[in-house]
């Protein structure tokens, strides 16, 4: 229905999970939530077409979407969790060390406003081991921003999100999973999908530092996130609370079987159509 279904290779992961060709996922009969958010699961500006399902990560998001007038919402869980079911961690994996830090990122239409230098200093003061900075493609392509991190540690980028079904790095989440599994901790200055993915991949989460902001950002919403998920904000969190909270946001326990997912996405043999 919408090109956001292919962001981060979501459609490709779901196709692989369903036993279909991951290089050529069929058209999804609905809108897959393409990142954690505190609205109805749709991305900013997504032109929703009524009658088609929004396929969200969690029951909490479904309830919120209903309260916002969205009637066709089905919980399928995050594509990252589907990926985890297909990529069990190797038993002889090297020991994890250090922290992977995801600075708050902008995108094509909104850039981050804040002091990256001060951010790095606080990270290095907080973290014990080596720090890997993972930049979003938007910041990674900005030489000035990238260099401000490169001076203090390893800098990586998981790839391009994709747009209008073009240039999608379909291995984006695979790369993220591999990086997360190298690290003990996952941290950011904003609660975001990367933190949730990190918890699912076995990292200890942390959210601290100058939260920065996007130009023209809805700041009350950012404050609401800090109020609603206090257990996920701080430098050293109580994993007995933070872990289940993060997994719940990804829809842990709600994943559909391949056959059920095929039926939900309109991918059963009779219904399947090209992307």
């Amino acid at each position: 229905m919408h090109h956001a279904n292919h962001f981060y290779g979501h459609a490709h992961i779901l196709a692989e999970y369903c036993g279909l060709d991951p290089d050529d996922p069929p058209r999804i009969n609905g809108f897959v939530q393409h990142g954690w958010n505190v609205v109805d699961g749709l991305g900013y500006g997504t032109p929703y077409v009524p009658g088609r399902p929004i396929l969200v990560y969690s029951e909490r998001t479904r309830r919120r979407a209903w309260s916002m007038g969205r009637r066709h919402v089905t919980v399928i869980g995050a594509p990252f969790l589907y990926l985890l079911t297909m990529r069990p961690e190797a038993e002889d994996a090297p020991e994890r060390e250090g922290t992977i830090f995801y600075p708050f990122h902008g995108w094509e239409n909104q850039q981050v406003v804040g002091d990256h230098q001060r951010q790095v200093e606080e990270i290095l003061e907080t973290e014990d081991g080596p720090v890997t900075f993972c930049l979003y493609w938007n910041e990674f392509q900005n030489d000035q921003v990238r260099e401000s991190y490169e001076r203090y540690g390893r800098v990586v980028c998981h790839g391009y999100r994709g747009k209008q079904w073009l240039d999608t790095d379909r291995h984006f989440l695979d790369k993220q999973l591999a990086e997360l599994r190298r690290h003990k901790r996952v941290a950011s200055n904003r609660l975001s999908s990367a933190i949730f993915h990190g918890v699912a991949a076995g990292c200890e989460p942390a959210v601290y530092g100058d939260p920065m902001h996007l130009d023209r950002e809805d700041l009350p919403m950012a404050e609401r996130i800090r109020r609603e998920w206090p257990e996920l904000h701080g430098k050293h969190l109580d994993m007995s609370v933070a872990g289940p909270s993060a997994l719940s946001e990804l829809g842990d326990g709600y994943l559909a079987s391949p056959a059920e997912l095929r039926a939900i996405l309109g991918w059963s043999a009779k219904a399947r159509v090209p992307a």
Binding site: P50, G51, P53, E59, T74, A259, S268
Partner: protein
Amino acid sequence: MPSFTEDRPSAGGVLLGYLTEQVPDGAEVLVAGPHDAALIDALAARATVTCLLRSQPDAIGLESRGVRVLCGSLAKVTDESYDVVVALDGLERLCSVEGPQLDWVESLRALHRLLRPGGTLLLAVENELGVHKLVDPSSSTASQADSAWRPLGEFDTKPGNPGRLAGRLAAEGLAVDWLGAAWPVPHEPTLIATPNALQDGPADALAAVTAGAAGRAYAEKSVLSDPRRLAAAAVRGGLGPELASAWLVVAHRAPRPAAALSLPPVLIGDGPVVELAPGRDGVWTRRVLHEVPGRDLSALNGPLPRGRLLEELLLAACLRHDLPIVRRLLTGWTSAHPGAAADNVVVHEDNYTVPSFSVLDPSVPPQTDVIRRFAQTLIGGGYAHPWPAAVDVPTLTSILHAAAGLPGDDVEAGEEPPLPDSRREHEEQIRALRRQLADATTRAQWFERELGRRDSELRKARMQIAAFSGSVSFRVAKLGVGVARKARNRLRKGLS
């Protein structure tokens, strides 16, 4: 009445028949009001039967079969006396158009006078607030039937609940020996349970049995809303006696009964007759009292399966959007009893493992489309569920089929099961169709906009292609590529 025949069904069926079987052999019995011929014949074979009817054609028909008949009005029966009076049709059809029109209390007094001391009265009292009335699309006070010359409905003087009924009978000198709430329709109940059984017995299983009885009685019949849900909710919520279709009473004329009738706390009868009673260990046990030829009922003897009806558990989990529980119920169900419909399975433990699923009535033949039937219940009833974009039965069936872990993506179509034809569900379906139509219109507009945008992009790309293919630089480059290709081919020929 010479030119009148009763236009509503007579009291009958296997359960009312079973009640009359309790009448002692050789007793003198008055059967007051229209009763089913089979019931009268069975009673006449063991006792001396007199029937009171107001329709002359009906009376002639009955008399021709050798039964003594009094044709006329109850008010005119004065110098008779009986050991037993059977009034399982109620007291509303005992007076003809001629003569006094006795109300309920006056009719009761008249019947009381016909009983010998210690004599037994078998009486049915229709509940004007019973589920059968709540789902009835027509109003009994506006009936145009020939028999409705005085359509009193709820304005009659009869008592409105079992407690008041017992009190009224006591006030008239009749002591209640046994009282049962009858479901789902007064003239042919298929479930009779005492208020104690409904209060202290296996409420979930009784709710399931009541829903099943209502479903069968109202299959394809026009109703305001689904009687299965109302009946089950009433029994589960402790309102079974208050919302039953009728109350059945065995009473005797004071001071003491000449013959005591023995009746179990629960009787189930839709063909066979099954009693349900608590054993010494407190476990409710079924026992088949009357067999039906050609149907193996041996599995019905034994402890009643405990638990909530699977269909209700599934509906509740769907309404909560509790997908993990929906999936566990579906997989447990299809692993344990794949041929039993959701309204014939009970679940007694919250872990939903295979042993916690039991078939309520094992004598029902296995079905092949049980998942589809549940999908139809969800859509037909307008219930919220976790896949709201699946608005047709085949799509929802294929999702449920997959969620149940059954093999194969595509599910074959099945036949429409006979369900109550409910106006409320019709209204909901109309609202759903309106929403779908509005959504489809918006989608069509969106597709048109998308098409326009893509057409515009295509036009632009074609213009660019045409512009580049006609430019001097493009022609020079094309010539150069052609020359280079020829040179390469010559070289290849020379080398080979």
